[in-house]
Symmetry: none
Subunit: 157 residues, 2 copies
DNA sequence: TCGGCTATGTATAAAGA
DNA sequence: TTCTTTATACATAGCCG
């Protein structure tokens, strides 16, 4: 009577859980967290800009290496001011952030379970486009290794 | 009986109030809100960087016109990448404040969970090679698709 | 400006659709 | 991946000192 929830005290979810601020190991979780937090960060930046009437610029790299940005009124205008201010010297304050990259786990599968069979033209072309980005990232990484020999042979991609 | 808190309504404060997202008129409040939110924004940026192992840069102007920034690993490195990426024109997506948002959020990124950060040269080249294969599959699929569409349109004629 | 406090608004981890 | 739901963690407006 009183304990209407007694045996059915099965909470549908655990609700938000506390997580340590360190690189998320689970790829799926990391991707989801990235998307949500990137959106929230941009939103916060937008609010700060509106509430205080100030310019703001945010640039973030995705786990895949793609760059996303938000700027009010625009990223470029803020960057210009930043660069200009840095020349003049003393009217900017910055906070650095040292961090160590966690060791990425092995993953030699990639698109093992990627099926192209059931995709529409639009999706296929979308992936073709995405692959272009991935290719650029790969090339960039390879060049970082200061060995362009092999890379050149793949430039025909 | 119902208002058990009536006489002892000793709530010290009203707690957080909801405020509209528009420029704060009261100067004092604006200054306070700016300081708090700037700190929180930087903190969020830092968390995103750590949790997802990605680079982040944030630049904000204070109500007084001073510039504050946060970057991981540094504002400059991220700006450099941003500028460089813009030259290439391909791998960056941005949102302007008053413009339409979320235009480029549509791609599925099936390899979003692919991390190139800590791979060795050999692994990178291996993936480059794999990508060659995938590209061919993609092109073939697109070709097949086009053929089907072509065939269909012919039938309809 | 800089913190501290409180009550409430908001962000978000997990899981499922 | 995107959207929804749920419960909880975290952010923060208004006040004080």
């Amino acid at each position: 009577m009183e304990n209407k929830e007694e045996e059915t005290s099965k909470k549908k979810t655990l609700g938000r859980r506390k997580i340590p601020i360190e690189k998320i190991s689970n790829k799926k979780s990391l991707q989801v967290a990235f998307s949500k937090r990137r959106g929230s960060l941009f939103k916060k930046a937008s609010e700060l800009s509106t509430l205080c009437g100030v310019q703001v610029a945010v640039i973030v790299e995705s786990p895949a290496g793609k760059l996303y940005s938000f700027g009010s009124p625009s990223v470029d205008s803020v960057i210009d001011r930043f660069e200009k201010a840095r020349e003049d010297g003393l009217n900017s304050c910055s906070e650095a952030h040292e961090e160590e990259k966690g060791v990425m786990e092995k993953s030699n599968w990639w698109w093992e379970d990627v099926f192209l069979e059931n995709l529409g033209l639009e999706e296929l072309e979308e992936r073709m486009s995405d692959m272009q980005v991935l290719k650029n990232n790969l090339l960039k990484r390879i060049q970082d290794h200061d060995d362009l020999v092999m890379a050149d042979s793949f430039l025909n991609l």
